[in-house]
Symmetry: C2
């Protein structure tokens, strides 16, 4: 099974378990709607890639880790799209969950996906209890308060923002979780994998800034030029397009250099580079080459 | 330490850990606001009472279970109070979280509390990994989809409602979790404790119907007469007040009879009876005595 198929299969199984046989039908339907069709599935892909680089000796744990990450990520998209935050109509090229199902079910969909993330990991515990608990611990830390994506979103309600804490929590947290959970699922320590996750998160942030500046809504499946419209600090306004592309490449080189020694180190470096190519919009690559 | 003090101390410690030293200040403040002052803390009290009846050999696990239950319960109150659900202004005698902090922070407070519930259990795992994972599994099942309080709330968006599934998920789920988690924290099987939780949940539902019908807003700290106003099916409209009080007593007798054999069986029966006395509004007791 290819990596992408493995990710989809694990996410699909988790959603079916959450839907059950006698659940409220609309909420059950919204759960599936909110995770399909998938975006790049970048967090679970990173997680599985790290697990495989570390030997992937308990594939069920790696699958659970990858799935849990994507469920939490989708939960955050559903809640962030709601009227009290971004009030977004479109996500991944189709109506957002609250547009399709209404606000109450969007709120519950996010809540259910968060819970499901932890359940998936608890169900994998028979394969290795200590690893499962460590996975739950990392996922919790990088999702909630004070270090997770909830904290990241919470910074947006503050008058004075700690920009570094904001970016690390809002974008970085789930990438750190992705590399650390991949390693832990395969029996490795979490700590040495933090830097790789943090750097991929930074790269992702810069790439997102580039996409927002250079691409149109139909290409990215959500409203474009939002940073400029909302006067948000971003890499393109600070560095210009060529500067932002150069910064992205610097970060990725640092990411690759930070990969801890492991059996699949070379393949993992290649994956990071490939992810980078997918992240950088063609327009930006052309811009940089000129 | 008394039981109530033990509950408050464990909840306070969890919130402080979630606030950290460098979190967004308003969200950190909203976390504490949302769990204090406590209501009856009835779920954690039941959980600890069951754990103590079963020997409470790992008090840190029992504390974590009790805390996790209350955090999830508070999360559900914060989200249910939001404008897209009950649009409530007052809870526990003070402004609801979205009234005090705004909708974005209320949404994030609920999300953070859910995550924190699972984190608290994962942090207690060094005391017994298998028990901790079983606690996480039960909490997840009774919080999310298809059987948990999210499912219960989800039924409210359906045109045709499975009333039994609705009540068991909406009100019963966290009481089942409370008895089962208390037992599991103390090393017992979960299954024999399901009936006690389910019956306490039913009793709670009937008591809530009585309170809604008989008491005024200032006495219950939230709007009264909502069932009548919204034409919701409830025990008082079906059975009348004396009938509902009789039904409540029947359920509680059944609850006490269902308590599995355990060292603290007698004390636990007393706790259930005492909880019942607290649940029944004085007005209803007088009504029934007349």
């Amino acid at each position: 099974m290819g990596l992408s198929q493995r990710v989809e299969s694990a996410i699909g199984a988790a959603i079916r378990q959450g839907q059950g046989d006698s659940a409220p039908a609309q909420l059950a339907s919204a759960l599936e709607y909110s995770v399909t069709p998938g975006g790049a599935r970048i967090r679970p892909t990173i997680c599985l890639s790290v697990a495989m680089a570390c030997g992937d000796d308990k594939p069920a744990l790696s699958d659970a880790a990858a799935t849990a990450l994507e469920l939490i990520h989708c939960a955050s998209l559903v809640h962030d799209d709601m009227p009290c935050f971004d009030d977004a109509d479109i996500r991944r090229g189709k109506p957002t969950v609250h547009k399709a199902y209404g606000e109450p079910l969007a709120l519950l969909t996010g809540d259910s996906l968060i819970v499901m993330g932890f359940e998936v990991l608890a169900r994998a515990a028979p394969h290795d209890c200590e690893r499962a608990v460590e996975l739950i611990r990392i996922l919790g830390k990088r999702t909630g308060m004070p270090f997770g994506i909830c904290a990241g979103q919470g910074w947006e309600s503050e008058e004075t923002v700690d920009l570094s804490a904001y970016h690390q929590a809002k974008t970085g947290a789930l990438f750190i979780a992705a590399t650390q959970m991949g390693a832990v699922a395969a029996g490795q320590e979490a700590e040495p994998w933090q830097e790789l996750g943090a750097r991929i998160g930074e790269a992702f942030q810069v790439a997102d800034d580039l996409k927002d500046a250079l691409m149109e809504a139909e290409q990215i499946g959500k409203p474009a030029h939002q940073d400029e419209a909302n006067n948000r600090p971003n890499a393109v306004s600070e560095l210009g397009v060529p500067g932002a592309v150069a910064r992205l490449n610097d970060i990725l080189s640092g990411a690759i250099a930070s990969i801890p020694s492991c059996p699949g180190e070379a393949a993992l470096a290649q994956m990071v580079r490939k992810t980078a190519d997918r992240l950088v919009p063609t327009a930006a690559a052309q811009y940089a080459a000129e």
